[in-house]
């Protein structure tokens, strides 16, 4: 019960159990889809690790590839959460 204040900090990554891409096969991982990718990037622009994002190995790999492609063509920043939108 003493966790009330931590709720806000936790919410940043939303401790989700299980891989959301496995749960819903409708969601496709695409490097152009900045809104989805943003969820897996920290404030500093780092890729959120699997233990926090909850992704399975296959989907984490795809997310990583997508983020790197998006960075390369200036859709998302290398060093912050800034995107083209």
């Amino acid at each position: 019960m003493g966790f009330d204040n931590k709720g806000v900090a936790r919410r940043r990554f939303g401790r989700r159990k299980g891989c959301r891409f496995c749960a819903d096969s409708e969601i496709k991982i695409d490097y152009k889809d900045v809104r989805t990718l943003k969820y897996f990037v920290s404030e500093r622009g780092k890729i959120v690790p699997r233990r926090i994002s909850g992704n399975c190995a296959i989907h984490q790999r795809k997310i990583t590839e997508a983020i790197k492609r998006a960075r390369n063509i200036a859709l998302i920043s290398f060093t912050s959460k800034r995107t083209i939108e």
């Binding site: 019960m1 966790f3 009330d4 709720g7 936790r10 919410r11 939303g14 401790r15 989700r16 159990k17 969601i27 496709k28 695409d30 490097y31 152009k32 889809d33 809104r35 989805t36 969820y39 492609r69 390369n72 063509i73 200036a74 859709l75 998302i76 920043s77 290398f78 060093t79 912050s80 800034r82 995107t83 083209i84 939108e85």
Partner: protein, 125 residues
Amino acid sequence: MRTYETIFIIRPQIAGDEYTALLGKYKQILADENAEILRCQEWGTKRLPYIVKKQDQGTFVLINFNAGNTVVKEFERRMRIDDAIMQFQTVLLENGLDLNAPESAAQTAEDDLDEDDSEQDEEQD
């Protein structure tokens, strides 16, 4: 024949007729190489998340095409020479292009928020 997807960023100073001419030129290059253009999306001028070629803005264009691998080489060579093109990236689409696939949008983002809230409640119990 393979399906490719190229995004290139044009200098923001290039607009109007100049821009249309440039786009036509690159479409013509693909046509000359016997590539089949599947889709051409113009995203317009956007603020870039980081500085590219001393510019903080850029005009994005997305082109999907069917072609052999030599075509990509020539297409990229021409873009590399052109000063008007700030950055480009070509990606091979292994499963081809599904033109009927819906554009992912605000819908997914809203779902995320809802789910976060519910999970947070669970943890607090």
